[in-house]
């Protein structure tokens, strides 16, 4: 990895942080305070730094452009537009135009609480974590799966043990990568606001890059060698 141990450490921290940011982007609508801060120079610089450390600075461009544009605009009107976009994409009517649930994309029955949910729920139990009661959605929501990656990414290794990168790679391969690319395509096609389009495309690029990084970290062969499409 470029830059040696210091860079590796900052990459590790940055990827965990970026998972957290992306989780938050899709977990709920943004309020005025959050939006105003995001559009400010401090948050944008921080986001650019995270993206750079994770090799997705270019892919963060659209999102950042949207935030730059947002600075100085009336936050109330923008937040309303974002909330409307969030609702039609992720809430309803119907499932929403891009419902962010793995089970809807991978279960044979195309309904909530499929096998993907069971597996993610089992992982939460094994890790000793659970979704907050206020977040009224099943565990295979994109925000939860991204939060799980953040948890795994910033969890310190057990003393004297190597870092369990493979656990993260298994979750990425076994869950996120199985559906997020298709979901991102739906968001890209249906989103009315630059924010959700930009955040989704950043997520797409980040997942790909992070998969490559994790494979190197685990010594696994690159995805192209054994990927089943």
């Amino acid at each position: 990895m470029a830059g040696g141990e210091g860079a590796a450490a900052s990459r590790e921290a940055a990827r965990a942080e970026l998972y957290g940011v992306l989780s938050g982007a899709f977990a709920r609508e943004l309020d005025e305070e959050a939006w105003a801060h995001l559009c400010g120079p401090e948050a944008r610089t921080a986001l650019r730094g995270l993206a750079a450390a994770c090799e997705v600075e270019v892919d963060a461009g659209a999102l950042l452009a949207c935030l730059i544009e947002g600075e100085g605009r009336d936050p109330a009107a923008t937040v309303e537009a974002l909330a409307e976009d969030y609702a039609r994409l992720f809430i309803g009517p119907g499932p929403g135009l891009a419902p962010p649930y793995e089970s809807l994309y991978t279960s044979a029955e195309r309904r909530y609480y499929g096998d993907a949910f069971s597996e993610v729920a089992a992982l939460l139990r094994a890790e000793g974590i659970q979704v907050a009661a206020e977040f009224a959605a099943p565990a295979d929501h994109i925000a939860v799966e991204l939060a799980i990656m953040r948890h795994l990414a910033q969890k310190p290794a057990a003393p004297g043990q190597p870092h369990p990168w493979h656990v993260q790679l298994e979750f990425l391969d076994g869950h996120l990568l199985r559906w997020a690319p298709r979901w991102v395509a739906d968001v890209a096609r249906e989103a009315a606001t630059g924010f959700y389009r930009g955040a989704a495309s950043l997520l797409d690029a980040f997942l790909s890059k992070d998969a490559v990084w994790l494979r190197r970290a685990t010594g696994a062969p690159p995805a192209g060698a054994d990927a089943v499409v």
């Binding site: 942080e17 957290g20 940011v21 989780s23 938050g24 982007a25 977990a27 709920r28 609508e29 943004l30 305070e33 959050a34 801060h37 995001l38 401090e42 948050a43 921080a46 995270l50 909330a83 409307e84 969030y86 609702a87 039609r88 809430i91 309803g92 009517p93 119907g94 499932p95 891009a98 419902p99 809807l104 994309y105 029955e109 195309r110 309904r111 909530y112 609480y113 499929g114 949910f117 069971s118 729920a121 089992a122 139990r125 000793g128 974590i129 659970q130 979704v131 907050a132 009661a133 977040f135 009224a136 959605a137 939860v144 939060a147 799980i148 953040r150 948890h151 559906w179 298709r182 739906d186």
Partner: protein
């Protein structure tokens, strides 16, 4: 070793970006939380019978029919599909325009504007605010709380009842009477026999004693799938016994029903909406050939002689003979004559399906059926008489279960009501006066419509009129668990739980059963009861609404009342906790119940057991109805021109009569969003049955997408070419979800096959003002080009 603790997955603070938009998603669980993942079984109930639910890993895995159900149906196995449907309403939502401008928003935008998600607090504040505003500005007569629906399966969580309980405490609401299922029975039956529905004999008694069964528009194998509780589907078993006993059956129906396929009866493929004419002709044969029971008529009925003036033709110059009836019904005079003679020679039971009522003049077939049975003189005799009542339960022997009370709706200070079929007219024509059962009703001016536990866009006929009506109120509020057309057209949508997401209790005469919550509420759904309790708290009536009781306290109270009653009657019931553990209690039918003969006591002693009619007898001629002087409901059974029928002038433009039977794999519109749809859909649309000759004449083959249309509207459907429907008759099962091409635009094409695009909401008479859904003429043509995709269920993308 440290115990595993649940840790916060995302922490505040840290990098500025993450700290602000990554609010804690994962929380800490209390110590000693029960391990999830263990498999449990819950007992439950839905409209398709009792069932057990298997829950493992925090999700509902399977629902299986109750082990004691002798005829379980597959619908009950689709409950997981209902609970986890991609169509679930996940959050409280408000239509964009309404969110911004409230009652000043454009109501014509309903159904085509996006929604905004709001918190429960905000949603409840808005709803409470609107209720207060409308009440203050216009009064309680501006609130429509009829909220018709097919009832929720439980004593506590009845959505409409929970709504009406709140509205009653707030000063009242305009309500509705009768039903779409039985639009005329509860009106005509009291006039003729003094009961809300004629008393049936028990099936075992009929099987033992009848020697001829004549069915009019009746399909018990399909319709009896729907019940609530009851434990088992018993009617199917009785139909099988009917076959095994080799009792001859005659089935009068334009369609060859599932029951017909099973019983292989003598079929009379009558022209739709002409059953009254057929029955009059049968009566004419009995009368002119002296096969009628004069002694019975004299002793147990009033008005036969005046009716005979009409029947014979002395009154109007037209004898209601088989020759008269033949061109009307398209049943040969010989067949009519033969059937009448056969009926007179046999111990005959006449069975009427509910559909007889759902046509113009829908009280006439009911009245005439009772009259015909009276003329046979077998009323109140074992094996004779009539049967017309709720098909899931009619003739099922009664058990001894004490009755279990439910949530009371309390008093309603508002006295305004409409027959349910007229709610559309109510919204469209405030101030209009209509006739109903001898009364005048003047419509109030509705400003707020609140619907919980129903889908008016599906049960009301003529959906284009529904659209227009729905645009009239200032605010429309809907509770739903599924994004039905009604929810999509609402201003405010509140997510409700399904029956598996809460606890309740169900009771019939044979079973009292626990409905044990299987899974937590989905997403942000709440029980209707809890939603209304929260509104009640905001509106100052919280304590009266809940009476300080939580869910289980209410159930214990209901059960306790039944147990007390049971104790007084010598029927033992265990304590509540034992009952709840066990899941159900059984109260089998007694021998007396199995032998019940409808009106047996009346026949034995009409003085000691008079009917609840003015004369105490069967009223073939009703002085009461005579006093109404309704041109569309004379004082005795009468054949009246249906207007929109194959024998009328409109048939030149629309030569096919559309019938809309109850579907096999749904309860009306319920379950259309599940996998059950795969069993019957044709080209992703609701199927339409069309006779091979009618199909050939239109170049239609099996599987084609067709357009079904008339002046009222148009819908696509998938053709099923079958001789099960006679020439000139097409059939689309009711309940297919409405999927407008241009939402909110009256007349737009329905892509999926909701029959109410073409049906009429004209009331069937001034007496009942009920629905005439089986009176509709249409044309059918092959759809040319690529049919537009169905989006009623908004299938998840990437699929």
């Amino acid at each position: 070793m440290q115990p595993i603790t649940r840790r916060v997955l995302l922490q505040r603070g840290g990098v500025a970006v993450g700290g602000l938009i990554a609010a804690p998603l994962i929380g800490v669980s209390p110590a000693g939380a029960a391990p999830e993942g263990a498999a449990v079984t819950r007992f439950g109930n839905a409209h398709w019978g009792l069932f057990t639910a298997e829950v493992a890993g925090g999700r509902l895995v399977r629902t299986l029919p109750f082990s004691k159900d002798p005829h379980p149906n597959r619908i009950v196995t689709a409950m997981p599909d209902l609970v986890y449907s991609s169509n679930r309403v996940k959050s409280p939502m408000i239509r964009q325009g309404f969110y911004r401008d409230r009652s000043r928003s454009d109501p014509s935008a309903r159904g085509r504007e996006p929604f905004v998600r709001v918190s429960w607090d905000e949603a409840l504040d808005v709803v409470a605010g609107e209720l207060t505003r409308v009440k203050t500005q216009y009064g309680n007569r501006a609130i429509y709380g009829g909220s018709y629906g097919w009832q929720s399966p439980g004593k506590l969580h009845g959505a409409a009842q929970a709504l009406q309980r709140l509205l009653g405490l707030l000063g009242g609401y305009v309500y509705a009477v009768n039903s779409y299922s039985a639009p005329t029975l509860p009106v005509i039956s009291p006039h003729v026999v003094g009961d809300a529905a004629p008393r049936s004999s028990a099936w075992p008694s009929l099987i033992k004693n009848s020697t001829l069964v004549v069915m009019f528009g009746y399909d018990p194998l399909v319709n009896a799938e729907i019940l609530s509780g009851d434990g088992g589907h018993t009617i199917m078993g009785f139909v099988a016994q009917l076959r095994d006993a080799k009792i001859p059956v005659v089935s009068v129906n334009p369609l060859e029903t599932d029951t017909d396929l099973f019983l292989k009866p003598q079929r009379i493929a009558i022209r739709p909406n002409t059953d009254t004419a057929l029955m009059l002709a049968l009566a004419h044969v009995l009368y002119t050939e002296n096969l009628h029971d004069r002694a019975f008529l004299d002793k147990y009925t009033v008005g036969f002689d005046r009716f005979a003036e009409y029947l014979s033709g002395r009154a109007d110059g037209q004898a209601k003979s088989p020759e008269w009836a033949a061109p009307i019904t398209e049943v040969s005079a010989d067949a009519i004559r033969a059937l009448a003679r056969r009926m007179a020679k046999s111990r005959t039971v006449l069975m009427g399906g509910y559909p007889l009522q759902r046509a113009v003049h829908g009280e006439q077939p009911v009245w005439m059926m009772i009259t015909l049975s009276a003329m046979l003189g077998q009323f109140g005799q074992p094996g004779g008489g009539i049967q017309i009542d709720f098909p899931g339960r009619v003739g099922a022997p009664l058990g001894t279960a004490p009755s279990v009370p439910g949530l009371s709706t309390g008093a309603n200070p508002v006295k305004d009501f409409v027959p349910i079929n007229m709610w559309v007219d109510l919204l469209l024509n405030p101030g209009k006066t209509i006739d109903y059962d001898g009364r005048k009703i003047t419509y109030p001016d509705i400003k707020l419509v609140y619907w919980a536990g129903g889908n008016p866009f599906h049960h009301a006929q003529d959906v284009n009129r529904v659209l227009q009506a729905w645009q009239r109120p200032e605010v429309t509020i809907v509770h739903e668990y599924s994004w039905t057309a009604t929810a999509k057209h609402a201003d405010i949508v509140l997510p409700a739980t399904t029956t598996l997401e809460r606890n309740d209790i169900v009771a019939t005469s044979q079973f009292i059963a626990a409905m044990q919550q299987a899974v937590p509420p989905m997403f942000e759904a709440r029980n209707d009861f809890d939603i209304f309790a929260a509104l009640a708290a905001r509106l100052g009536v919280g304590a009266q609404y809940t009476e300080g009781k939580d869910e289980m306290a209410w159930l214990r109270q209901f059960y306790g009342a039944a147990a007390q009653q049971g104790q007084a009657r010598g029927v033992a019931m265990p304590d509540f906790d034992t009952f709840w553990q066990r899941g159900y209690l059984e109260f089998p039918a007694t021998d007396a119940a199995n032998a019940l003969v409808g009106y047996g006591d009346f026949r034995a002693d009409p003085t000691a057991h008079p009917l609840g009619t003015p004369s105490g007898k069967i009223e073939i001629y009703s002085e009461t109805i005579a006093s109404f002087t309704y041109d569309d409901c004379p004082p005795h059974p009468t054949w009246l021109d249906p207007g929109e029928w194959l024998g009328g002038p409109l048939a030149a433009r629309y030569p096919l009569h559309l019938l809309s039977p109850h579907p096999n794999d749904r309860l009306h519109s319920q379950m259309d969003q599940t996998w059950l749809r795969q069993r019957y859909e044709v080209g992703a649309r609701e199927p339409v049955w069309i006779n091979p000759q009618d199909a050939a004449a239109r170049g239609i083959t099996n599987g084609d997408i067709v357009r079904v249309f008339n002046d009222r509207g148009q819908t696509l459907a998938g053709a099923v070419v079958t001789a099960r429907t006679r020439r000139g008759v097409v059939a689309i099962h009711e309940g297919g979800w409405y999927d407008p091409l241009v939402p909110g635009q009256p007349g737009t094409l329905d892509r999926h096959g909701n029959i109410n695009t073409v049906s009429s909401d004209a009331p069937n008479s001034k007496l009942s003002d009920g629905n005439s859904s089986h009176t509709a003429l249409v044309q059918v043509e092959k759809y040319v080009g690529m049919p537009p995709a169905v989006t009623a269920f908004t299938p998840p993308p990437g699929a």
